[in-house]
């Protein structure tokens, strides 16, 4: 007897199988949880009988063991990142392709109320060291209520010979604006940048050169802070250098960079045909897209010389909004792409990159916060102050060593014009001291709050950061 299955029946069958798999996964997790809880209760009663300790003491002992194990995990994390980053540093080549081999590029900028700096951003794009006939600029005005559209309009007939397209739509969000720009673009490589970022002259040519390798799907650029006039912004610059770019460089050695930043990302055109456009329902659309590219088997690398300058939030509330949005967005992307862990084609390096994302977004901040609360409690209740000091001091030492290496490694992205936009080496110990003491604790607390809200599925709006317009200083420096 012939078995004929229609397309609809096939879909129903797949859905049933998927549903059963989900059910099975849920039950396995539930059984595992019950086993762990029973095990813990048994272990507790066993310890109580054998060592004769009270429950608060057992609790403190187990928390200390837990924190110690997390600290060892953190040591491993630093060590792996350091070794990988060092390897990437020595593997780095400065070679540029011939002009005739350069690919055509479409630069897409989604714009919403950016009248303060839009002219500077467009000027920086018109003056790139790249053949003018080989790139186009697409500005998508996402329903700005200020003069952004009019400012962009003035550049339509620029004398630089660069093709500029100006699109307009009602306010629909960044992802939709980017998708519109991509669908209207013609370049072989698509570069997506934020509207509050200026590119240095050589960034495009350095980013594009990686696409000589057919397997490279995306390239992450080097994001730097422009407004470093206060210590608070210098601390953010240190975080970009030591926390974000340093990790990206390490993962680049494995060709598995897990976030191509929205500030500057280079993508091969065929990527969007294979993995789809930006997801419009996720706040970290850049992270989601990167994970999909990695899953499709492409290489994602980091280019330290593709430098873009951006404005850092100048107040704590603005920083809070920014990091809250980033963390919730990353958690959404991680949850959406969790099949990466079970996917049969996922390599060890891909799983490592994915796990690192979860570790940085949630596990480590939670552990750091628990450690601080626990040691503070110990200090206040029992006067054990040295525990908190030892915790802070060992982490500061780790930060200092990686900050020194990140500093040296970042030298290759140096530009003589912007020497004042660089952290001075002598300040580094002082900055690292404050960085661990105050700044990272604040950031970790924000991340934990964001995680809790994401777990509870609380309402979240797009938190816009106020632009000061300090990036306009770029015009004066570059003498455009």
């Amino acid at each position: 007897m012939k078995l004929i299955i229609t397309k609809l029946e096939k879909e129903v069958l797949v859905l049933n199988i998927y549903g059963k798999m989900k059910e099975r996964k849920f039950f396995i997790t539930l059984i595992l949880l019950i086993i762990i809880i029973i095990g813990c209760i048994y272990l507790l009663s066993f310890i109580k009988e054998k060592i004769n300790l009270s429950y608060p003491h057992i609790f403190m002992l187990s928390l200390t063991v837990l924190l110690l194990s997390f600290f060892i995990l953190l040591l491993f994390r630093y060590l792996i990142i350091l070794i990988l980053s060092l390897s990437a540093h020595f593997r780095y080549k400065n070679k540029l392709p011939k002009i005739e081999d350069l690919k055509t590029v479409s630069i897409i900028i989604p714009v919403y109320n950016e009248e303060k700096i839009l002219a500077t951003v467009i000027n920086s794009l018109l003056n790139l060291n790249y053949p003018k006939e080989k790139y186009e600029i697409i500005i998508v005005d996402d329903g700005s209520k200020d003069n952004s559209y009019q400012i962009a309009y003035q550049f339509l007939n620029n004398k630089k010979g660069v093709k500029l397209k100006l699109l307009s739509q009602t306010n629909q969000g960044k992802a939709k604006a980017l998708n519109r720009g991509i669908s209207e673009s013609k370049g072989e490589v698509i570069v997506c940048i934020d509207s509050d970022c200026v590119l240095t002259k050589d960034s495009l040519i350095y980013g594009i050169r990686h696409f000589q390798d057919e397997k490279v799907g995306a390239v992450a650029g080097n994001v730097k802070i422009w407004n470093q006039d206060k210590i608070f912004m210098k601390l953010q610059a240190l975080e970009y250098m030591e926390g974000l770019n340093f990790t990206r460089q390490a993962l680049s050695f494995l060709n598995k960079v897990n976030i191509v930043p929205g500030a500057i990302g280079f993508f091969k055109r065929e990527i969007f045909q294979k993995v789809g456009l930006y997801n419009e329902n996720i706040y970290a659309e850049d992270c989601d897209l990167t994970l999909r590219i990695l899953k499709a088997g492409y290489k994602v690398v980091y280019e330290p010389k593709a430098v873009v300058y951006t404005e850092a939030p100048e107040s704590i509330s603005c920083l809070f909004k920014q990091r809250y949005r980033w963390t919730r967005g990353i958690l959404q992307a991680v949850r959406k792409n969790n099949h990466l862990l079970y996917h049969s084609h996922s390599s060890f390096s891909l799983i490592l990159s994915y796990l690192l994302l979860i570790y940085e977004a949630f596990f480590w901040p939670a552990m750091n916060l628990i450690a601080h609360l626990f040691f503070t409690l110990l200090a206040l209740l029992y006067g054990f102050i040295p525990f908190l000091f030892i915790w802070w001091f060992s982490l500061t030492l780790l930060d200092f060593s990686s900050a020194c290496f990140a500093y040296v490694s970042d030298k290759k992205s140096e530009n003589n014009t912007y020497k004042n936009k660089k952290i001075i080496f002598l300040y580094l110990p002082f900055l690292v001291f404050l960085y661990r003491l105050f700044y990272l604790l604040l950031i970790d607390t924000i991340k934990v709050f964001a995680f809790l809200e994401e777990a509870l599925n609380l309402e979240m709006g797009w938190q816009r950061i106020r632009i000061t317009g300090k990036l306009n200083g770029y015009l004066i420096k570059e003498k455009l």
Binding site: S317, L437, L442
Partner: protein, 64 residues
């Protein structure tokens, strides 16, 4: 040496406490702001579809 460590420990403890309390305050303010915005949104869309339907019903001999 012990004295230096004690002083540093006290600084770390103080700053940690301040940062934790400060983060909590900033978070509460942030949440309150979002809640306020949500309330405003719900006030704007308070009128249900049924109410709108009733409001736009033709009165008397008014033609649609």
């Amino acid at each position: 040496m012990r004295e230096i460590i004690t002083i540093l420990s006290a600084i770390v403890l103080g700053v940690t406490l301040i940062t934790l309390i400060f983060s909590l305050i900033v978070y509460i303010l942030f949440r309150l702001k979002i809640n306020k915005r949500e309330n405003l949104k719900s006030e704007i869309t308070k009128e249900t579809e049924e109410e709108v339907f009733i409001r736009y019903q033709p009165k008397g001999d008014e033609k649609i």
